[in-house]
Structure formats: C-alpha cells, structure tokens
C-alpha cells in the first residue's frame, strides 16, 4: 500500500481536519439538476426534438407549403407519395370504331392511357359470352380458382355478336392492371380454364385543353399532342378526393395538437385548482369534493365523450373541435385533482411548511411559495402523459366519426377517411397513423424521461 520507507513515517499529531465538506457534485437547483439528468437521457432528448419538430411542422409548415388543404386535384386522386407525375398530352377522347387489330390472343388495340384501355381477343368455340375482369394484383392462383373476387372487379359481360372487344374507361389510374377475359359457357358457367390474362401498364393522359385549363402548359412554349407535361407536385401524395396529403397533415396537426395540448393544459389546471382547494380546506369540504371527483372518474370516459358530443351537437359546417375540447376538460380533471390533493396533504405534513405557517404567512403565499414549486414537477409529468392520451382520444373519436367532422382535417378524421381506401391506397391511412403514433410515442418517452429526471431518488442500473 505505502511505498514510503516505514522509518520515514510521521507519527506527530494530525492537524484538525475539515469537518466533512465532502459534496461530490456542485449543488444545483432542483430544476437545473432535473434538466441535467434529462439531457443525459438520449431517448428523452430525441423525443423532445421530435416534439419541437412537430410544433415547427404545425406552425411554420403551412407558411412554407402554401397549398390549400381543401383544394382538389382531380387529375391525381389517391396517388401515393413519390408517384410519377408526368402526363402525356393526347387528343380529346373519341369513340372507338373497333378497327381490326393484328395479332392473336388477348391484346391491346391501342396504347393504354388513363383515357381508355381497349382490349380485343379471339373467339372461343363454347363461349356464349365473355366476362371481363380488372385486378390490381397479379394473378397468383391457378386458373381453377373460379371465385370472382380472385379476378378483381367484373367490368362487364360481352356477347360475341357485339364483337370480341372491350373498352375500359372506369376510373383508370396510372398503374399496372391485370385484365382477365373469361369465356362464359352454357348455364352461365365461367370457363376459368380458358381464361386469358394481360398485364397492362396504364400511362397518364391529359388533353391539351385540360392541361391549358389547369395551367400545366407554360404559355411561352408550344405544346402539342405527344408531349409530356408535369402535373402538380404532391410530395406525400393525395387522398381520394385529390387533396394534398402534406397540406392536410399540416392542418390536421394543428387540430390534433391543439386539442391534444390545450385540453390537457386546461383540465390539468382545473384539476390543480380543485385538488388544491380540497387539500387546503380539508375536512367535510374535502370529503365532498373528492367524492364528487370519484363519481366523475367512474363515468365511462369514451362513452361520455360521445354523449357530450351529442349534447353539444355539431351543426353543418362546424368542425367539432370546441365541443371535444369542452368534453375532454369536463371529464379529464379528476386524476390531476386527486394527485395534487395527495401531494398537498403530504407536503402539509412536512416541517418546513409548518414552520412557514407558524410565522403567520397567509394561505395564498403558502401556496405560491411552497406548494406550487414542490408539486410542479408532478404536475408537469402528469401534463406530459395527458397529452398523448388526449391525442389518442381525439383520434379514436374522429375515427369512429364522433369527433372532428370532415372536411376539417385532423389526424383522426384523416384516418377515418383513409381506412375506406386502405386496400388500394394505404398511404391515406398510414400517413396520419404514423403522425399519431410518432407524436404519442414522443410524448410518452418524454414523460418517462421527465419523471425519471424529476425523481430525485438514486436509481440503480435499470
């Protein structure tokens, strides 16, 4: 242990030692200390960054991306993010005169565009008629599979007298389709074994007139049939009405975050006031107040949110944001009230407040100087956890059509509309769902981090 020569050891009395000034860390205030701990928590910091990012997206976003969320782009309905947006200029539509098309089997009579897809095929000996189907999925099943839904949507039945041809003009999108032509035998039986299939890649077409109307054609340049023009840009695609998803997500964020932040803020505030009152006055008042809070807690939350929505009624043209806010506040406060009351009762026991009380400070001063700072941490954590749950509630209610009313976008009402087209254009559901999930996730992790940071107890490795 000691390398010194024992003969050099000094056996004279030691001087007075400093009486235990052994503070390892510099003393920080409660909040500085909590902030220091929070900063060391990477998950909480990432979440904080996400929350700030969301606020920027909501508040600054619409100024940068100045597209009206209600504006409908009828050329581009339900297009996914990053879809090609070039369109070919074509002649205005003219009826098909069924000119003979060279070749055999199921084939295209002309280039397939969003204007029309023209199919021709050959005769079949036992065909009484032909059934034409269109599918968006490639045919993976063996042809014995005779269920209709495995072939996509039925487009029509063609009798051979009308010619072996079919023209599809039904809501064509610039994607790949699979057309099936199935002969119909005696007794209306589909002869699936003799089915023919063709893969058709549809290109987007627009007439010169339409392109000019929509301002897609620059006036200086001469544009003609066969040229390509660029359609309006929708970075996150459009919904089934052709509305820009990015713009709607931004406005939806306003609604969702407004409800998600303002409602908890109000009801936490109400809860703090109610709980402080109960905690301070005590006695029978406290009992009565808390009993009432117990009853409000016992009301099934979502059912009464719906009931309140019926009570406030949403007239035509109203968004339903304020009714939801009020309902959330009416039903949300008791948890905070209980918590704050508990805290106040606990703090009241502690000596420093009794000391202050002995010195004759008025109650208001007591609250401001001692109670609030000491319960603020708990309240902050409660608020952080209340936000994701309010966002969830908004989304849930709007999703079942009981919340924010269309056309006002909120993430919940967007999901509601998105689910109808989920199978063909999933992005209309997935994008708002991602926003809800990421926001809720960020606030939850931030809440965890805050709770740990404000919890001054020493923790072991977890």
């Amino acid at each position: 242990m000691s390398t010194a020569n024992p003969s050099e050891l000094d056996f004279s009395p030691a001087p007075e030692r400093a009486p235990q000034a052994r503070l390892v860390r510099p003393s920080l205030s409660y909040w500085q200390d909590a902030w220091r701990r929070l900063r060391l928590n990477p998950r909480a910091m990432i979440s904080l960054a996400i929350v700030v990012g969301l606020l920027v997206f909501t508040l600054v976003g619409p100024m940068l991306w100045r597209l009206d969320p209600a504006n409908q782009d009828l050329e581009q309905l339900s297009i996914p993010p990053g879809a090609a947006r070039t369109a070919h200029i074509v002649e205005p539509y003219t009826a098909w005169r069924r000119e003979a098309t060279p070749g055999t089997g199921l084939r295209l009579a002309s280039e397939a565009t969003t204007q029309s897809v023209r199919l021709v095929w050959d005769a079949h000996p036992s065909a009484r008629a032909f059934e034409v189907f269109r599918d968006i999925y490639p045919p993976t099943h063996p042809p014995t599979q005779s269920t209709q839904d495995a072939l996509g949507i039925p487009l029509g039945e063609i009798s051979p007298q009308d010619g072996l041809a079919f023209e599809d003009r039904l809501a064509l999108e610039p994607i790949t389709y699979y057309y099936h032509v199935v002969p119909v035998g005696a007794g209306n039986r589909l002869l699936s074994d003799a089915r023919e299939t063709i893969e058709v890649e549809v290109t987007r077409a627009i007439t010169l007139e339409e392109a000019t109307q929509r301002g897609l054609v620059s006036t200086g340049k001469k544009t003609q049939v066969g040229d390509e023009v660029e359609l309006a840009w929708h970075p996150l695609g459009t919904d089934y009405l052709g509305r820009d998803m990015l713009a709607r997500l931004m406005y939806g964020a306003r609604v969702s975050l407004f409800i998600g932040i303002v409602a908890p803020f109000l009801y936490v505030l109400l809860g703090v006031a109610y709980g402080s009152l109960a905690g301070f006055v005590g006695g029978a008042t406290d009992q009565t107040l808390m009993r009432f809070a117990d009853f409000v807690v016992a009301l099934p939350f979502l059912l009464f949110m719906i009931l309140f929505k019926v009570l406030f009624g949403i007239g035509p043209g109203e968004s339903g944001i304020i009714p939801m806010l009020i309902a959330l506040v009416i039903l949300g406060w008791p948890a905070t009230a209980r918590l704050v009351r508990g805290q106040i009762l606990q703090i009241r026991e502690e000596s420093y407040v009794s000391a202050a009380r002995l010195m004759g400070s008025p109650t208001g001063y007591l609250i401001a100087r001692h109670m609030i700072p000491n319960t603020l941490g708990v309240i902050l954590v409660t608020l952080t956890f209340a936000i994701p749950s309010a966002i969830f509630t908004e989304a849930f209610l709007s999703f079942i059509g009981m919340g924010v009313a269309p056309p006002t976008p909120s993430w919940g009402s967007m999901s509601n509309e998105g689910i109808k087209t989920m199978l063909v254009s999933p992005h209309e559901l997935i994008l708002p769902a991602i926003f809800i999930s990421v926001t809720v996730l960020a606030f939850n992790l931030l809440g965890d981090g805050l709770r740990d940071a404000l919890d001054a107890r020493m923790r072991s490795v977890e």
């Binding site: 242990m1 000094d10 056996f11 004279s12 009395p13 072991s460 490795v461």
Partner: protein, 331 residues
C-alpha cells in the same frame, strides 16, 4: 485453540452502480468457533450485511462482485458454491434471518407453508409431515396456538411474532450456523429482549454457532463471545467481548462505546455521538478509514493503511497506528 468452524479471509465485495464502483467490503477476515456467538458491529452502511450475505451467495450479482477472499466451513471453501459435501450452503449449513420481518415473508403464502417449504422441497419430507414439523418449529420459537397460526398469513402477525416465524424458518433444516442480520432493529425494545433470549436459548440447545449483526453494543454485551468491529468495509478490531468492552484498542470502538447508553453507570449520562459520517466507499481513503473523524489521528494515518496489531491477549487484534511503537500518543 481448536480449528474454527468458519474461517473468512480477505473477503472483498464491490458493486457497480451509476455513480461508479462501491467498494462495500475491503478485505475482511474473521473466525467463528463451534457453538459460539460472533457479533459484527459497526455503523449503518459499513458493509456488515454485504459481508455475511456474500458468504451464502445472497449478494445480487450483478451488480455485486466478490473480488477476493475465501470462506471455509470445516476447511471446505463455500464461497460461490451451492452445496458442500451434499449439503446446501443456504438453509442446510447456514440459516439466515433478516432485519425487517414484516417484509421478509411472502405476503400471499401461509406461514406454515413457508416454514415447511424447504423440508418438503429439499429433505424429501412428505407434505403432511413437513406441515407437522412446521408447527413444531413454531412452538419451538414460542409462537402460541401454533397450529392455527400456521394457517394464517403474514399480515395477521405482529413484527415480533414474524421474527419468531423467521427463526422457525431458518431453523427448519437445522443449520450449523445461524446468521441474524440486525434481527431486533425493527422491533420494540421489550420484544427485542424476548427475541434475543429466544435465540440464545435455541443456540445453546442445538449447539449452533451464531453470527449476530448489530449496531447496538448493548446487544453485543448481552449475547456475544467474540466481536468483530467493522468500519468503512474493513475490520478495525476483533477480540473477545471482554476485550472489546474493557480493553478496546481502536478509537472507533471507543467512540461507539461512548455513544452507547450505559445503564449500569451511576454517573450522569453523557451520550457522545461520533461526529461526522463514514467515508465515501466509491473512493475509499488510502490510509485509515477513520482518519477524518478520529480524535487521536496522526500524520501517518492519512495516507498509510494501519496494519493489524496484536494486543497481547489471545486473538485481540486492532488496526490502528496508535499501537505502533513509534506512536506519539500513548494508547
């Protein structure tokens, strides 16, 4: 002198925590003889519990770690082993009772089942026999209405009664050594005396050895044959109870004594708590651990670890520079 039943040498235990490594036990040696009571004393946090728990593998690892040392029972190493000579170290060779009886029993299991558990699961006793034996053990620990009590749950018992249950539990497999970690700290004074005398009686009856951890020198006076005084993870003095009480050689032991109420003393009571608190075990001092609080410290003590000095009598040892021939103060 006969060979000790249990011989612990140079035991060291550390914990990894967020704040760094806590060196909770730093090279502890002591010996326990057959049928005797060894008291381990020291302020709270000086490593008493960690020391004995590491002997039977009750220190959670991780974060805990035994970094050195050996513990021999009848010459056989027991550190880190589950069984020795076909006997389980925990329960069969060494039984243990803890400080807080209220939380040390499973709240959702009947008392009788908790006592019978090891008998049934390990000694191959049939369930019914194990239950009967549990009732006998409760009677032995002076729990009234043992049969009825064995069917009750812990929350229906008082703290003192629960500690009797814990004793019954620990004695179930008739261990050779009983370790009692502050068994009376959480109890009322009157109950304390009952529990201590119960333990002493049982020990004599069964020729068991007892390691009694306490920070109460009164308990030591009442129970101990040998005493180990610990401070900051180290043994600072060992000796017979008489040595420690009447001829203590370490300023810390002397400090503990003057902090103890002495009922037999006629003179005016003057309790002198030791000023200050034990050192930080994250970064233990290089010299004497007691340096900062020692009223008789010397320059040498700050940076040099005092060796063990033999204080003449049989097995009375003390780690303090005052016993060096060169010391300026006389001890």
């Amino acid at each position: 002198m006969t060979r000790p039943l249990l011989e612990v040498e140079d035991l060291a235990v550390e914990f990894d925590t967020h704040g760094g490594t806590v060196k909770a036990v730093r090279g502890v040696s002591f010996a326990l003889h057959e049928g005797q009571t060894l008291a381990v004393v020291g302020e709270s946090g000086c490593g008493k519990s960690v020391c004995v728990q590491s002997l039977v593998g009750l220190v959670p690892m991780p974060p805990g770690r035994i970094t050195s040392g050996s513990a021999r029972l009848d010459g056989e190493q027991i550190l880190g082993r589950e069984t020795v000579g076909g006997m389980r170290v925990r329960g069969q060779l060494i039984g243990m009772i803890f400080q807080d009886p209220m939380t040390s029993l499973n709240p959702t299991m009947r008392i009788g089942d908790q006592i019978a558990e090891p008998l049934h699961m390990h000694q191959g006793m049939r369930r019914r026999d194990a239950r009967m034996r549990a009732i006998e053990l409760l009677e032995l620990s002076q729990v009234g209405e043992a049969e009825k009590r064995s069917r009750q749950y812990p929350f229906e018992f008082s703290g003192g009664m629960l500690q009797r249950v814990m004793i019954a539990c620990a004695l179930a497999c008739e261990p050779r050594i009983l370790i009692a970690d502050e068994p009376t700290t959480a109890l009322d004074v009157t109950i304390q005396a009952q529990i201590l005398s119960l333990m002493r009686d049982l020990q004599r009856e069964r020729k068991m050895s007892l390691i009694l951890i306490t920070h109460d020198l009164g308990v030591v006076a009442q129970m101990a044959d040998e005493v180990v005084v610990m401070y900051a993870g180290k043994v600072v003095e060992t000796g017979s109870a008489d040595d420690i009480f009447y001829a203590s050689g370490h300023p810390y032991t002397q400090g503990l004594k003057s902090a103890m109420p002495q009922n037999q003393d006629r003179r005016a009571q003057q309790l002198e708590p030791i000023a200050g608190s034990p050192p930080d075990l994250f970064d233990p001092p290089t010299g004497c651990g007691y340096f900062e609080r020692c009223p008789r410290a010397m320059q040498v003590c700050e940076a040099h670890q005092p060796p063990d000095f033999d204080l003449g009598k049989v097995q009375h040892r003390c780690a303090c520079w005052l016993h060096d021939a060169r010391a300026t103060h006389d001890s």
